[in-house]
Amino acid sequence: MGSVGLTLPWEHRISPEGGGEPRVQPSEREERNRVSDKLSEDAALAAGCLAGEMRAYERLYQVQGARMRNLARNLLGSSSDAEDAVQDTFVKIQRGIKSFRGQSSFVTWTFRILVNTCHDARRSRMRRKEQAQDDSEGSAPALEPRAPGSHPSLRMALERALQALTRHQREVFLLYEVEGFRHAEIATLLEISETASKNTLFQAKKALRSMLEPPRSAEAGGAR
């Protein structure tokens, strides 16, 4: 895939204030506080789901549903596929809750199921495409229009650029930068090491930058 750089330089496309600060791993104390805060909610959700309480599943959807759907949509490139994946994920949680051993947080476990469900969905979609002899787009899913953001052209460029990344790079970028997971959580979620998660994110951002950043000459012209 060639460069999908936009005509406007970065300064014009995004406002510098808010969200521009780099995310670094939290300190030990912050981590402890965060974990203890979330632990009770997480444990309560797991216990409720294990007991088969519909309210617990509803709470899980209230707390994580939007994030799950968003991740699935970014992974699959289709809102309807994403909704199916989230629905399948909940059924898989219900079927497999007895096998949840608490080795990770319950939410991380549910996202792991979601990511695997998205892999399955992608594979079956590819099989369907192969059967239909429709391989014009390869494995890249068709991108659907979404709710207008503040920079729709930037979002579209980013979506296209993401499709050019490896599956691993795309997943780590989406989980870290979009969904706000920490490297430790991503490591558990994707069954990789924390260092691998950091390296993959670095490579993903480097690749995205080279795809999105306009050539120097164009930038110089646009920055007037």
Binding site: P22, V86, V91, G149, T195
Partner: protein
Amino acid sequence: MNVGCADRERILRDGTAEEWAALEAHAENCRECREELRAWKALSVAAAELRDYREDSALWAKIAESLRENEQRAARGFRDRLAIWRGIPVGWQTALAGALALVLAIAGIYVLRPQPGDSGSDKLLRNSALAEVERTERDYMKAIDKLAADARPDLDSATSPLMASYREKLMVLDSAIDELREEAGRNPSNAHLRYELLAMYQEKQQTLREVLETKR
């Protein structure tokens, strides 16, 4: 903290908050690092464009329905099996239950019966090991009895306090040995009792040796 252009990639990859702050400070006077940092942060900001967290209660309704269906399917599976059982006439149910009990009983007997194979050989091994211990013990006792017979005249005719003390010690040891042998007879597989008994025999043997050495 001092960082330079050479540290940039490492900090972008896995930098601490302090290192980031130091890199920012360095970037104020370094055009290349400033540009890199800006582009790096811009990607994080751009990533926010991929966040669409709108509520969708329709999806929850579908999920809830799927969950209920799944639950019902699981329950139905159990009920279906129960219904098949209930559909069978009572006479047949009794006969089947009896047959099942019989099969379980036969299986139990088959599993627990003394096997000519492994479990039998285990028992045989245990028995032969025990017989070996008892035989060794007997031989050991014989040797000690022989030693005791040699020492007896001196012990019986002893007038010295030392010999009297040996005699007393041997009496105590004999009584302890009798007691332990009685216990070991009741519980032949108890290894601890056997070790205790062996220790007593060794003590008796040592005492008899000392008696004979004193005589010389």
